[in-house]
Amino acid sequence: MLLAEGLRHGFGAVRALDDVSFGLQPGQTLAVFGPNGAGKTTLLKVLAGLIRPQRGRAQVDGGRRAIGWIGHQPQLYGQLTVRENLRFWASLYDVPESEFLLRKDSLLVRLGLQDHEHRRVSELSRGLVQRAAIARALIHDPRVLLLDEPFTGLDRMAAEELRELLSEDAAEGRASVLVTHNVDEGAELATHIAFMRAGRFAHFAPRAGRGPQQVSEDYRNAIA
């Protein structure tokens, strides 16, 4: 479903990705942990096709249409309502009107946004904006989800709800790549764990039942 082979990319003298390879099957979630500047966001951008790697290739079954992106920036327009934003993005993904209405209603209920549908995004709190961003990313029912620090700005309850939503989606067969510098976030969601340092995977393996604390220890050992 998602394949990365020998990805290399640099910005000037800085090597942001250095021979990164992995594959994901439907329902699998890869959590990539690493310090700031490790190359995590570059990896996501290469997987999304926003950056063409200098070497290697990234392939997602279904192409760009199959990708959903949740980042720390919501990619929403503040002057538009939640509904108008969702409609705009759905139109770009050619989602038919009837499907749009069904998905929009379902997502708004799942994300607790049903009372905010007609409010402008600029009027929403940070947590609600992030929920709207999640609805935007899922409105075209992507098969692969790329998440860049998705828990940033969320309170504990909203973060928990996001984790639940991602677990449900994974159970339905959606593959995800989640990058974050915070090991406590997202470890439970992952079927695979990678630790990234200086553009390389210092560790890549199935999580194999490890809890967040063990993952945290592994991370400290691998990155130190």
Binding site: L50, Q75, F88, S91, L92
Partner: protein, 228 residues
């Protein structure tokens, strides 16, 4: 099959931009104030016994349109930087040229709105009757506007991620505006001097060729300008 989809996506982008502008009204208001200010300054700042209004008016009209359009085009891609929406657009499974086309349509509607407001004000301030030449004047303004907005929209995309975008856009754009502005000023002067339409037709043809060349070039070059 590809063309209707491209146009549909372009219209989706354009209508979103127009809705955002309609809601905020920040750009249109600042440009409208700018237009009135320019007319007031020129009206009271020149000696009508030295240079007649009719001689000066075409230059004033096009200087106003040019700087009003630059103000407008500066915001075209700035809007997409808000919350990194540009990355979302680039990630969407649409032709990159449809993003350009959408921005071009929105900018054209925006600049046309400014022009619709400006022309009656211009007529009022400078006592230049425009009604007798309205149709050829509309054709002239439309053809000149398409050309420089097409180039401006491309440069707006090129400069949006730079630190001095608002400074860079006019620096890059103004050299490309010299020819269409020159032709438009001369043709407008001939219109106001009640010269026969056949004399103006040559300028209109040149503006049309400029539009075709630069819209085509911009459509081809745009995908490369937004790649990271």
């Amino acid at each position: 099959m590809r063309l209707p989809k491209l146009l549909r996506h372009a219209w989706t982008v354009a209508s979103k931009d127009l809705l955002v502008e309609f809601r905020s009204r920040t750009a249109i208001l600042s440009v409208a104030v700018f237009v009135v200010l320019v007319f007031v300054v020129f009206q009271f700042g020149h000696d009508p016994t030295a240079v007649s209004n009719v001689d000066l008016a075409p230059s004033i009209l096009w200087v106003t349109f040019t700087f009003a359009a630059i103000l407008a085009m500066n915001r075209a891609f700035q809007l997409e930087l808000e919350n990194q929406a540009l990355d979302g657009l680039l990630l969407a499974p649409i032709e990159r040229s449809s993003i350009y086309l959408g921005k071009l349509i929105a900018n054209l509607v925006f600049v046309a709105t400014i022009e619709v407001i400006s022309v009656p004000l211009f007529s009022l301030f400078f006592n230049v009757p425009v009604l007798p030449y309205l149709l050829p004047l509309i054709a002239l303004i439309a053809l000149a506007t398409v050309g420089f907005v097409a180039v401006g929209t491309l440069f707006s995309a090129m400069t949006v991620r730079t630190r001095f975008a608002e400074l860079l856009l006019p620096v890059l754009l103004l050299p490309f505006m010299i020819l269409p502005q020159w032709w438009a000023v001369v043709a407008t002067g001939q219109l106001f001097a009640s010269r026969p339409l056949s004399e103006i037709l040559g300028w209109l043809n040149m503006l049309a060729v400029y539009d075709i060349v630069f819209v085509t070039l911009a459509l081809l070059l745009f995908p490369a300008t937004v790649n990271e």
